[in-house]
């Protein structure tokens, strides 16, 4: 169900989005995303890392992680750490996240409540 939003709120939301996207950290993040998206090697490495981490987490709960698998994870982590595109992407994303937190503090301070907390969909 969509809430009817006033033109003022719609305009303020649009302005916040436009300004966020035009901020230095988000411009850098978008550039890093674009470079990451066209680099199949970087995308493959990251997917391999996520898949292996997920697989090892699952095995960890059943206590069945072999040394060879831990070594494979370390090797993959090192590969990722040496991939300039991936590191730029990760760093740019972290800076964008930090900036979003600052913005949320600004919004929440004025409202007197945590906007991000209210905007969150996740439930326990």
């Amino acid at each position: 169900m969509h809430t009817v939003q006033s033109p003022q709120l719609q305009e303020a939301t649009r302005s916040l989005i436009d300004n966020l996207l035009a901020s230095e950290v988000f411009v850098a993040y978008q550039q890093a995303c674009a470079q990451f998206n066209v680099d199949s090697e970087a995308r493959t490495q990251l997917k391999q890392l996520f898949d292996l981490q997920a697989s090892l987490r699952q095995k960890q709960t059943s206590g069945g992680v072999a040394q060879a698998e831990i070594d494979a994870l370390r090797a993959l982590q090192q590969k990722v750490e040496h991939n300039r595109i991936l590191m730029t992407y990760a760093q740019a994303q972290q800076e964008a996240v930090n900036f979003l937190r600052e913005i949320n503090t600004e919004i929440s301070g004025l409202l007197g409540l945590n906007f991000a907390k209210l905007a969150n969909h996740a439930t326990c």
């Binding site: 169900m1 969509h2 809430t3 939003q5 006033s6 003022q8 709120l9 305009e11 303020a12 939301t13 302005s15 916040l16 989005i17 436009d18 300004n19 966020l20 996207l21 035009a22 901020s23 230095e24 988000f26 411009v27 993040y29 978008q30 995303c33 994303q93 964008a96 996240v97 900036f99 979003l100 937190r101 600052e102 913005i103 949320n104 600004e106 919004i107 929440s108 004025l110 409202l111 945590n114 906007f115 991000a116 907390k117 209210l118 905007a119 969150n120 969909h121 996740a122 439930t123 326990c124």
Partner: protein
Amino acid sequence: MENLFFDNIEIAPVAVVKRAARDFAGALAETPQFKSFEAVAERFRDDPAAQKALGAYEEKQIAWRALLMLNALSDEQKAELDTLRVAFDNQRVVQEYFSAQAEMVSLCQELGDTLSESIGLNYAASCGVSCCG
């Protein structure tokens, strides 16, 4: 949008983005959902019966915290806690509070979704909010 030109890319200074954030908060504060939530929250704080019911429920929750964590309450304790919870939930101002809160959450979720879709990052998750707050 007041921008500086930097290497052919228009960059919005941090102060301008923060001003846009404050304008957004101002527009959100003018919505009926926010005003209603604020008003009912104040009535809830000022309602002695609702506060007494809340205090009684919280007092037991704190006293039985360890048992609750271990899921080890006796049937009598569970029944007592349920009775206190129902007494709290049945307060008119509490029902109004939860209703206003739901409306406010719904609006904020929509706005958060719009932000997330536009900026390519999950707004709430990026701000470090988990399901437990």
